[in-house]
């Protein structure tokens, strides 16, 4: 399954915004899509459980944790990321897996180290029928006006290759890079 970029952290796999769904759950007014969508239904069930739990906190006159909102949104993101893991190791104790979006963070970080490069969206996908951890990388990036574009992209590719293996732990069997924009440094 293809994974979108890391900028849409609070979207559900179907594309629905978790914050909007939360509002609809609170109002008890799910729309047609939300009623028929498995992802929205699963998230709704979680949100309902959360609302009950926070209601119990209020009834019990307990102060909710100070970081509750952040924790809820983190949990939404975690739920979404559980949809796609890349296996990176299997030890005698069990498997180690990295969420495709977490691997994308590493790839974007690596690409940004190339001079004149700013990464935009990134998708990591385990290749079907390939060994565990063999992935396709798709990265959109922007180049600074005036840099040698092909040299910058080549350097970004080298850095991604090294970071994928050494930092994220997966094998970048294919790295597709699309230049989507040019940016100018502020004077």
């Amino acid at each position: 399954m293809a994974i979108k970029g890391v900028d849409d952290a609070y979207l559900l796999p179907c594309g629905q915004d978790a914050a909007i769904l939360w509002d609809h759950v609170a109002l008890g007014e799910l729309d047609e899509h939300e009623l028929g969508c498995e992802h929205c239904q699963a998230a709704s069930a979680g949100f309902l459980a959360l609302r009950e739990a926070t209601g119990e906190l209020t009834e019990a006159d307990l102060a909710p944790p100070r970081d509750l909102t952040e924790r809820i949104m983190r949990a939404v993101r975690t739920e979404r990321r559980r949809d796609a893991f890349v296996p990176i190791a299997l030890t005698e104790l069990g498997p180690i897996r990295i969420a495709a979006q977490a691997a994308a963070v590493v790839v974007r970080f690596a690409a940004d180290q190339a001079a004149g490069v700013i990464s935009r969206s990134c998708a990591i996908e385990q290749i079907a029928d390939a060994p565990d951890g063999w992935c396709e990388v798709r990265l959109d990036l922007a180049l600074r006006y005036g840099v040698d574009g092909m040299a910058a992209v080549s350097r970004a590719r080298e850095l991604i290759d090294a970071a994928a293996r050494e930092l994220a732990g997966f094998e970048p069997a294919r790295i597709d890079i699309t230049v989507v924009d040019i940016w100018q440094e502020q004077a």
């Binding site: 119990e56 307990l62 983190r74 990176i88 104790l93 979006q101 963070v105 590493v106």
Partner: protein, 121 residues
Amino acid sequence: MIVGRTVVEAPVAEKLVALTVLSTPGVIRLEPSISALAASLSRRALGGWRSGNGTLPPTAGVRVEITDGAVSAEVALSIELGRSVPDVAADAQQRVADALRELGGFAVASVTILVVDVDRP
């Protein structure tokens, strides 16, 4: 004197796992799912639990099952950006297994590590 049975319960295993993971260099935090967060908040309300600083118990993000006396643990966590994810995760995995055996007296069936996020500390 009759030496009776000693039982160490699942919540103890959960807490051992959580504290061990959080003390592993390179691990930033545990990452609970929505259902785990809801369960954690409910336990807080039902138990009237309140800590000094208003934070949740540290075990959300850890799932433990004990079958025939052996622990299977699953941990969802975040790792510091710039660290080797496989190295940090494998270190956490080994530390969890050691803690369960040495501190809790458990047999260990498996320890699954799910790296949900990579972030700045």
